[in-house]
Subunit: 299 residues, 2 copies
Amino acid sequence: MSEFHLKEYIQKRKQLVDEHLDRLLPQPEGPSGKVVEAMRYSISAGGKRVRPILMMAACEAVGGDFSTILPAACAMECVHTYSLIHDDLPAMDDDDLRRGKPTCHKVFGEAIAILAGDGLLTYAFELMTHPELTSYVGGRILNQAISIFAKAAGVAGMVGGQTADILFEDKPVDAQTLAYIHRHKTGALIRASVEMGALLGGGTPEQVERLSNYGTALGLAFQVVDDLLDVIGDEKKLGKPVGSDEKNKKATYPALFGIEETRKRAQDLKMEALDALSGFGSEAEPLRAIAIYVVERDR
Amino acid sequence: MSEFHLKEYIQKRKQLVDEHLDRLLPQPEGPSGKVVEAMRYSISAGGKRVRPILMMAACEAVGGDFSTILPAACAMECVHTYSLIHDDLPAMDDDDLRRGKPTCHKVFGEAIAILAGDGLLTYAFELMTHPELTSYVGGRILNQAISIFAKAAGVAGMVGGQTADILFEDKPVDAQTLAYIHRHKTGALIRASVEMGALLGGGTPEQVERLSNYGTALGLAFQVVDDLLDVIGDEKKLGKPVGSDEKNKKATYPALFGIEETRKRAQDLKMEALDALSGFGSEAEPLRAIAIYVVERDR
């Protein structure tokens, strides 16, 4: 699959996710309409839908029909978006802009932004039991997927990573802590997206485990390359200034290991991800192309 | 069942819930231990465990074994506690004390308090798929219970009620809006507790519906009597000052309808709750005693 095809594939899937998010989210009405407005504002603020696309691609890789798991894919985007809303709050990272647009609390105020995050996190679990999902997926499998989801999003996953990130702000971070933060803050949801897609698509336990390994490697590769691009990237291509990690005294792989070692680590992670897919056929082409793209990209 | 027995019943059940919360919550360890500490701090800050006790009582009322649904009962308390942590935040109600103890953000800071709330909300859904629950309850029934739970906690329930409560702060509130806030902010979780207990305990759809009606009436009765006690209650018995609603310009039933009409409303709601239990046998005695206590209490 050439890069051209991957772009087209991602664009189509992104559009599908966008349409279904718009369809599946509640409508702003009644005395609490404002919080739904805020949820919809952040959901439609230009996300790339990486996690839902990965979930659907993992579903395909085990021979499943990705169109049957759209509520779960949308649920994953709800959790990702809630995490951004809460991360941006004044008490957390205190960001006024995200992807060039005012953050949720800048538009709706802090109270509604907190509630919009809470609402999206809760709605994710409502979507996980949506009739469109329960009509295709068995009850036990759905229970398992919900369990994977909650663990990856909670203190053993994303919330734990965000906690560590905040506690180590402005403090020296060693390699072990940096790995902990990445594995939990961003890695956990990426791995869970792939695992859930495989499970909901009818994958065998062995297939789910292999794709889980793929997800772990991919999540880490994504972060390592992000760190690298912040040092050696082209501002024009990235669309954002480089060197911000160093300026913000953020612990990164290049800072800890040097550029060459970080490049090597990214290549190793790509091979790990591709190795995990070795038993899969052409249905796993999208996952392969994504792993290559994540490491070879220049933006 | 005399009041003495109800007290003993509630005390025993509360102790059981406390023990299992302590056992089932994660342990504070690793780089994110602080957030688990904060979660445990708020969970053990003196809650009465009303919702878990109601869930177990509803389970018993349909002939179920309440000891098999303890993870779900604890999950309900996690969601209730998360809602208190986020409600107390400076951007929301800005409370320094709850039940006489410093609120979560006063002890751990705002960022960790936001994350502790997020962590508890997410952990609730992890508990809903805990092996101790899935080994007793069928996959489909569990999916249904999770769906009821998420709807009651989210924008169509508690989060919606809290949104309306915040948006109508310092504004005149009519009877319809007051009912909306109560039905959503506190009523939704109480109703869901009873519904989930009935469903997880193996109740028929008709039993679940009847207990849902019980829960709706009980939740509203609880709020109506709370409003009433703030006007006519005895400060010594209540252990808190009366008249605070009027001082805070809070919309209440007595303010809108007068004391006599509010008393009558409380009695009507008690009868509604008891009527809903008419088809049940002695297994529903705890639920009956709770409905009578909620309306007749003087604290």
